[in-house]
């Protein structure tokens, strides 16, 4: 009887006859379910317009994906954890604005005057720091004050947007330090740097969630918080960290966005949260937590942007964009409901 519990890692592997082959189950392929969709959209795009399959067009689509994808990366991690953060779409705007406010000189030829408290090179670190602080404050409200996360981050969404409008006096900020706009505008190896950066971050995130103990902890917490706690996982610490990382990513998305479009617009990121949720959910991440992958979320972003691109090329007027977004979400949700078999209450 006493040998039943000798389970050290160094003893020889038992016979693997029961299941020697790597696991191949339907669940494994759920993450890939959008690949055929993307392919079909590609074929349709090719038929609709010859411009679609040009590298300029595709790179454009991918660059448009890049900023959104960083928010999706953060939101996907939060959803897997079983939480929700709506304020990401405001963080993408307010973090760069606060950074500009701190580094732009009080006087000068620029149309926007900050307080000039910090040198120009600090703009990116300051921007990222603001992101971490926002996420940290979200975590404080959710984990320490134990308020409802949905409403708390909804409040933050509105408050941060208001903060941005207040600080920027409702105007777009056109002149930004060179260091700040470099990443969003640069091109590496023939493609916008932003694309490479996002790709690297997604790969890093995907590996972390798949192969790091703290990454695996996200799934355990999202699946059953109490069980995770009983198993010795520091639930609050992990949650707090993920909230901070997600806001950090949103702030970084702000940096890329500003570089991409050359200015901080006062509506930067406005209403993005709907697209973020749409991409995440059609990418197979469960709103109930504990299920989904970052790769799936990434395919969600790409699929969403490709559909919009094809519609635009097909001559659908932009006035219909909003309708399309909604329709895509509904259709994708219904399809994934039946593809995955996962029912909601």
């Amino acid at each position: 009887m006493s040998d039943t519990s000798q389970l050290t890692a160094e003893t020889a592997a038992p016979d693997q006859r029961k299941r020697g082959a790597p696991r191949l189950q339907v669940g494994t392929y759920r993450d890939l379910s959008l690949i055929p969709v993307i392919f079909i959209v590609g074929v349709v795009g090719f038929i609709v317009s010859p411009t679609f399959l040009t590298s300029d067009n595709l790179l454009g689509v991918l660059q448009q994906c890049s900023e959104l994808s960083l928010l999706v990366l953060g939101e996907a991690m939060i959803l897997i954890l079983g939480r929700m953060d709506l304020s990401l779409e405001s963080t993408i705007g307010v973090a760069p604005v606060i950074a500009m406010w701190l580094v732009m000189p009080r006087t000068g030829s620029a149309t926007y005057h900050g307080i000039g408290a910090l040198p120009g090179w600090t703009s990116i670190p300051v921007c990222l720091l603001v992101g971490v602080l926002v996420g940290g404050f979200n975590g404080f409200m959710i984990l320490k004050l134990r308020v409802n996360g949905f409403i708390a981050t909804l409040g933050m969404l509105t408050m941060l947007r208001g903060l941005q409008v207040g600080i920027s006096q409702g105007k777009s900020i056109v002149e930004v330090p060179k260091s700040f706009s470099y990443l969003g505008g640069a091109s590496w190896l023939g493609a916008p740097a932003a694309i490479w950066i996002c790709l690297v971050l997604f790969v890093a995130g995907g590996l972390a969630l798949g192969y790091l103990r703290h990454g695996r902890a996200l799934y355990a917490i999202g699946g059953n918080k109490e069980a995770a706690r009983a198993a010795g996982i520091r639930v609050d610490l992990v949650t707090w960290t993920v909230l901070a990382i997600a806001s950090l990513l949103a702030a970084f998305a702000g940096v890329l966005y500003v570089g991409h479009y050359g200015a901080i617009s006062s509506t930067q990121g406005q209403n993005w949260i709907f697209q973020v949720f749409a991409a995440t959910v059609i990418g197979g991440v469960s709103l109930n937590g504990g299920r989904g992958t970052l790769f799936g979320a990434l395919t969600g972003v790409v699929a969403l942007q490709l559909v919009v691109n094809v519609m635009t090329l097909g001559g659908v007027p932009p006035l219909w964009d909003q309708f399309l977004y909604g329709a895509i979400i509904i259709v994708a949700l219904i399809i994934s409901r039946f593809a995955s078999g996962e029912q909601e209450d």
């Binding site: 009887m1 389970l7 790091l212 103990r213 010795g232």
Partner: protein, 516 residues
Amino acid sequence: MTDAAAPPAVQAEGIVKRFGATVALDRVGITVAAGDSHALVGRNGAGKSTLVSVLTGLQTPDAGRVTFQGAPAPAPGDTAGWQSKVACVYQKSMVVPQLTVAENLFLNRFAPGRIRWSALRARARDLLAEYGVDVDPTALAGDLTVEQRQFVEIARALSFGARFIILDEPTAQLDAAGIQRLFTKLRELRRQGVAFLFISHHLQEVYDLCDTVTVYRDARHVLTAPVAELGKSELVAAMTGESEQAEAAWHAGRSKDAAAAGAGEEAADAVLRAEQLALDGVFEPVDFAVRPGEVLGLAGATASGNTALGETLVGLRRATGGRTLVRGRTVKPGSVPHALGAGIGYVPEDRHRQGLVPGRSVAENATLSVTDQLGPYGTVLPGRTRQFAQRMIDSLDIKTSGPAQPVSDLSGGNQQKVVIARALAREPSVLVAIRPTAGVDVKSKDALLGVVRGVADRGDAAVIVSDELDDLRVCDRVIALFHGRVIAEFGSGWSDRDLVSAMEGLPAGGDEGVEE
């Protein structure tokens, strides 16, 4: 009581139910006479739950026939029809906790027109009084005790006109007094002609309450017999399909441990020691030590504080006084990671709530507490996870198609084994198990308790927190708690009567500390 002329309350014949390739029920039948109290027993996977879903209309059988009082069963989907024939009180609560008892009783069948609250409350009061249920209809359902909630559910079922009620493990979450009250109530109702199908893993309850017993094994009907004519060992043999083995292996180490117990309690070699450990308002300062090779039982009814004491030991709750030591070293209070690091393994009370992450695989669940050992630099390598899990599956004999199977697909006993595997994965110095055999079948129960016993037999220690006598029988020493205080302490020679009365707050005079 059973009138031979009256049609049976329920009769099922030749029921076949398949789920894909799995045959869940293979031409089984059951007949429950009016006013009968009929037990349905079988190991996990025997087909009990499927039969319940067939009898309650949740599943349509692939073949076979169900009749209620001689009339054919309502059509599938005819909820009202089914409700007037049969009701099931599940382990899980089926009341809406935020609504009052009265509203729960009449949910979705209010009188037409606007809801007249005072009339509704009066009707609820009448209904509860009719069945002698002493519950305030204006109370929130969520504030009820498990036992009151079950009474309310039974009353609701009866008010639909059902005269056949299925009780699925009704005593799993009740303390002994609650079980007695439930049994008394059930006997009363039987006199009114209500028939019960009683599903339980607790065989003693079958003998206490039931007239007839039906045994299923591996989706097949094995036997139906009057309880009085069937010995316990025959019953177990019918369930397991093998003749009873020598009274479970877990008694093996007893004599050796009893000898070790003589070594003196204050010896410094105690594996786990609680010094004046207290949690305000839950339990008073308590001292105990668990020596190597010893299993300590913390007995107590639902509100005795024994569960809270267990949760304090493992760091889920922060003690308000005193300290816990493992092998002489103080454990940081209120921190599960520190308790784990100090060598305390934990089998939580409720595997659904605290034990398992339902959507994830067996491997992932089993290795949840050892993710730091599955690869270098904080990585978790899938290959090593699988290997580790496979070893646990083999050593604990977990019935699964492989480490990648979702843990929610396993039977209750095997799920519990996964939880225990995880607790053992870190090779704890002391294993703290809270109600480790709740809701598992007889055979798994022996296996699980054997594993706990094995921890002690290899020189470590274990603590079992439970009110189940079978769990406590494994222990070398039992401390009984009542209302947050230690009320009695027993050596291994306790009698059921003494321990139960101690848990009920009536310490028997002479039996305290037999072997100390």
